[in-house]
């Protein structure tokens, strides 16, 4: 840390970041104001999102929902956490070796396989919901968290592979070759040497796979058949009916749902910057 920025430089960066934060938070403040209003406010052209009166009634009625004596919201929160963490873990486990192979090995079908992987992302999913449903039905995975995780993880795999391959490409080959000269097998070198060096990319991939599962509700609503099995986004979307919607509670729920994501991000961000402090990878 020998490079000290000037005071002016720091001030400018802070100004830019504060403006960025204002841009990021302003619409969310409207959501917050909606969540804290006990009833709908008088519409008026206002620039500052302040609720007319503040009440936690929306928040508490979302969070404290019960069914037959059990704390339903807690149960559904747990479902969401389990499904999303499992999706992220399975997605990463599937993608890591594949991305490594794409980065380090030459093999027959590599080029076409990569093109195919990218191609899967180009197809709008409009017509594939029913086939997916029938497939899960045939595998007896309907109405299970496992089925949901398997679907989410597979969908997140293509991005995960591309993201990780890009990161592996930046890691010098000498690193694992040195380990292999020291007697490690390739697999051991991959696990012990390459993976730690790719920690930031793994963190990004994990976060991405987690998010893709955390906010999805159409597929979850279609394949889950019991209320206790629902994930939080499904529950949230239940506040929107055919003709009317309970936007206050929807907003309150949406903010609650975003807290674990920010907590997870807070936990993963030390891996995001890990390379800088641990000396990084010497080329």
């Amino acid at each position: 840390m020998k490079r000290q920025g000037t005071l002016l430089e720091h001030a400018l960066i802070h100004v830019a970041l504060v403006l960025g934060v204002a841009f990021a938070l302003y619409p969310v403040l409207w959501v917050l104001s909606l969540a804290l209003s006990p009833q709908s406010a008088a519409p008026a052209p206002r620039a500052i999102p302040l609720p007319e009166s503040v009440s936690l009634v929306n928040l508490s009625s979302v969070v404290l929902s019960t069914s037959g004596g059990t704390w339903l919201f807690g149960r559904q929160l747990l479902n969401s956490v389990v499904v999303s963490l499992a999706t992220a873990a399975v997605g990463c486990l599937l993608a890591l070796p594949a991305a490594y192979a794409l980065s380090r090995f030459e093999f027959v079908g590599k080029k076409n396989g990569t093109a195919l992987l990218l191609a899967t992302q180009m197809f709008p999913t409009v017509a594939s919901a029913i086939p997916l449903y029938l497939l899960l039905n045939a595998l007896h995975l309907l109405d299970t968290k496992t089925g949901l995780v398997v679907c989410y993880a597979s969908t997140s795999v293509p991005f995960a592979i591309f993201q990780l391959r890009g990161a592996f490409d930046t890691i010098p080959k000498d690193l694992e070759e040195a380990a292999m000269i020291d007697g490690a097998t390739r697999l051991v070198a991959f696990v012990r040497v390459v993976l730690p060096a790719a920690r930031p990319a793994i963190a990004v991939t994990f976060l991405f796979a987690f998010m893709s599962a955390w906010n999805e509700f159409i597929l979850a609503a279609t394949i889950l058949g019991r209320e206790e099995a629902f994930t939080l986004p499904v529950v949230l979307s239940r506040y929107v009916g055919e003709h009317d919607a309970d936007w206050g509670r929807f907003a309150a729920g949406a903010l609650v749902v975003s807290i674990p994501v920010m907590a997870l991000f807070y936990l993963t961000q030390k891996h995001l910057v890990g390379g800088l402090t641990s000396g990084g990878v010497k080329g």
């Binding site: 027959v108 180009m122 409009v126 929107v240 949406a254 010497k282």
Partner: protein, 720 residues
């Protein structure tokens, strides 16, 4: 709680086989889409509790499904044998459900001697070809809410309300003028109907023109709000800023205690005629899986006792001939019952569902003043005729099968040749270790991603559904590529929408990348303080579910009450009608999507920057490189391999990202901000569920993207 899933699919399948089957005899499942926390859901609970008291041997489980996923869940689950025994839905979908085999005749649940207990119109609404397909539960239609303090006397006609003396800033009527469902009563007053008796487009008529001009006149005279939505109507009425509001029984749920109000049936238009809203009959439908117990429950749901509970708890009007005691003692329900008696049952013909989308668009166009009523309505009629055009004639499958066979042979030949070559050079053997690394990912992606996609793509060669399903070859593709016979660059044609989509993708990806890189680079400054705090705050747009934030953005862009215009006015600028011009509506969509997407690119940048060794940067600095040179010559080239896949995939996702367009501008003005994939979703979900046509759209989008990226790769030599 299940343990986190093991990796191998066959093991998963085996595990799932062991889990006990859920259903047993005497078990009933009932699905509904009532809003969570709403009175109707409470009423259903109370009714089921009463049923359980009387039938303790039957176990009823309910499942509340989000409305947005309801129709697709019914459509997927019932044919696969996983559906409920019965479900609750609106009568107007019955013809579609019957055609797809989702409902079974319900005559057995309602013996002839019990039928006189129901209002004849309600029974008619759930009957097809003389056969009863559901048990009517409740009736819903629009009526007029009046603020009792502002309007103490019932107005004899709508004009009396519109001309009532009111304080400044108070509108006479809150009404969603841009929605065809809300417009239907005005149309009926002028003697028209949404769907003509011969299946013609009812709005393209003298009555349609006059009713549209009437409502546009109200908007011009400031009698009704601009760009109104259901929630804006609620907010205006419940805060006393509108003296009256047109709403359904569901509107009352949002008005709790905030304002003193009463309800009357929609009054006539002076010198024109009575306003008749559309009537929806909510009914319990039996699925083909229903047994005797399900019929018993359906009968109970429609009974006098259930109607009583529904009136008391749910505050909905029953579908029975005689109002229950609870209904007779509640002026709110009496008013809605009178309104329902005078309402026109929504036609069950699938054509009816096709009338709304073109009508909404035409109404908004006239309200914005972009076109005279007759022109906009004629356009709507053309759209309706275009969508309802009969599906293509069946094609002979012989030539296609031959082609498919040939292609398969060619493909197999190619694989064998490549494989032989590779084997001869020992490449295949050398590839084996790599295959061990990719096998699991390959299996998962092939089975769960590629498999359903191929089957989905296959449906593009078929038209119709259920018993009308037939092979039509490439007919869908031909229709899309010839812009359905219209001019190639007409508004809404495949080619024009493609241009908009390209602009949309390019603008989004550039701004995502720019903002993501900018904040990512700032945040990786080595000696900056509060970095962790900034990072977490900047990721907020990604963390909050986008459904609610996209709607918050839409609200911010509202002409009359939006925050953006409030800021503009505070700065002394003129307010902007954001959704009335392409450029501003496109910018509103863009702002929303950039806001939603830049944190992702920022996180990717943060991860990528860790690959830049500090000592290289320091060496460059020592060598006298300026900050800009260090960024351009050291940092950017080093993070490029990690950013590139995110940019490429981001572009592909943005190309197909219709949610934001759908939620913010809704295609306004006049469908110009729609992107290609919105059209595919419209065909699949709002236009008579023509899945085959939607799939053809999806395949074309896929081919475009695939061809486009291949060409781009060849041009730039990039490896993505």
């Amino acid at each position: 709680m299940r343990p986190s899933p093991p990796l191998s699919l066959p093991l998963l399948a085996a595990l799932a086989l062991l889990s006990p089957s859920l259903a047993r005899a005497g078990d009933l499942t009932l699905w509904h889409a009532y809003r969570e926390g709403g009175a109707e859901q409470e009423a259903l609970r109370a009714i089921l509790a009463r049923f359980q008291e009387r039938h303790p041997e039957t176990r009823v489980t309910t499942l509340a499904v989000p409305f947005e996923g309801y129709a697709s869940k019914l459509g997927a689950a019932i044919p696969a044998g996983n559906g409920p025994s019965l479900f609750i839905d609106a009568h107007e979908r019955v013809a579609d459900y019957q055609r797809r085999g989702l409902v079974a005749p319900a005559g057995g649940a309602l013996p002839p001697e019990e039928r006189p207990g129901f209002a004849p119109a309600s029974l008619d609404a759930v009957s097809l070809g003389g056969q009863l397909y559901g048990i009517p539960l409740s009736r819903k239609c629009l009526a007029l809410y009046l603020n009792s303090e502002l309007i103490p006397q019932d107005p004899p006609d709508l004009e009396a309300l519109l001309d009532a003396p009111l304080g400044p800033g108070v509108l006479p009527l809150a009404h969603v003028a841009g929605a065809a469902y809300m417009h239907a009563p005005f149309l009926s007053a002028f003697g028209g109907a949404m769907l003509g008796p011969d299946g013609s487009y009812g709005l393209d008529s003298e009555a349609g023109r006059r009713s549209t001009e009437y409502v546009a006149g109200l908007a011009r005279r400031g009698k009704i709000p601009e760009e109104a939505s259901g929630s804006l109507v609620n907010e205006l009425f419940s805060s006393g800023k509108a003296a009256g509001a047109i709403g359904g029984p569901w509107t009352a749920g949002d008005l709790k205690g905030s304002v003193r109000y009463r309800v009357i049936p929609l009054p006539p238009l002076r010198g024109v005629g009575p306003m008749k809203p559309l009537l929806t009959v909510e009914a319990a439908f039996l699925t083909p899986q229903a047994g005797e117990e399900a019929r018993e429950l359906a009968r109970f749901l429609g009974s006098e006792d259930a109607a009583q509970i529904r009136a008391q708890v749910g505050r909905t009007v029953s579908a029975r001939a005689r109002p229950s005691e609870a209904e007779r003692s509640d002026p709110f329900l009496l008013a809605f019952a009178r309104a329902a008696d005078g309402a026109i049952p929504m036609p069950t013909s699938p054509l009816m569902r096709l009338t709304f989308e073109p009508a909404d668009r035409a109404l908004r166009k006239v309200l914005r003043g972009d076109a005279p009523a007759d022109v906009a309505l004629r356009e709507a009629a053309h759209r309706f005729d275009d969508v309802r055009r009969p599906p293509p004639a069946p094609a002979a499958s012989g030539p296609y099968l031959l082609l498919l066979g040939l292609l398969t042979l060619l493909g197999a030949g190619y694989l064998v040749r490549e494989g032989r070559q590779a084997a001869a050079q020992g490449e295949l053997r050398r590839s084996l270790p790599a295959y061990a690394y990719i096998a699991q990912a390959l299996l998962a992606v092939t089975v769960l991603v590629i498999g359903p996609l191929i089957v989905g793509a296959g449906t593009s060669f078929f038209a119709g559904r259920g018993d009308t399903l037939r092979f039509v070859g490439l007919a869908h593709y031909a229709e899309i590529l010839t812009a359905r016979g219209g001019p190639l660059l007409a508004s809404g044609s495949f080619y024009l929408v493609l241009l908009v989509t390209l602009l949309w993708t390019l603008a989004n990806v550039s701004l995502h990348l720019l903002l993501g890189l900018f904040f990512g680079l700032l945040l990786s400054h080595p000696t900056l303080r509060f970095k962790a705090l900034y990072r977490v705050l900047l990721i907020v747009p990604w963390a909050v579910p986008s459904y609610v934030t996209a709607l918050a953005w839409k609200g911010m862009f509202h002409r009359q009450f939006g925050a953006i215009n409030a800021i503009l006015m505070a700065l002394g600028a003129e307010p902007v009608a954001w959704f009335s011009r392409f450029a501003t509506a496109f910018s509103a969509n863009l702002a929303t999507n950039v806001w939603l997407g830049f944190p992702f690119m920022m996180v990717v940048t943060l991860g990528a920057i860790t690959a830049v060794p500090q000592d290289v940067l320091e060496a460059a600095e020592v060598d006298g490189a300026t900050r800009w040179q260090r960024l351009r010559l050291v940092t950017l080239p080093l993070i490029k391999p990690v950013l590139l896949p995110a940019v490429a995939l981001g572009a592909v996702w943005t190309f197909n990202m219709f949610n934001v367009v759908f939620l913010v501008s809704g295609g306004d003005p006049d469908g110009t901000t729609d992107i290609l994939v919105s059209e595919a979703y419209r065909w699949a979900f709002t236009r008579d569920a023509q899945v085959g046509y939607a799939a053809a759209y999806a395949v074309l989008i896929f081919l475009l993207l695939f061809g486009g990226t291949r060409a781009l790769n060849r041009l730039t030599g990039a490896r993505v």
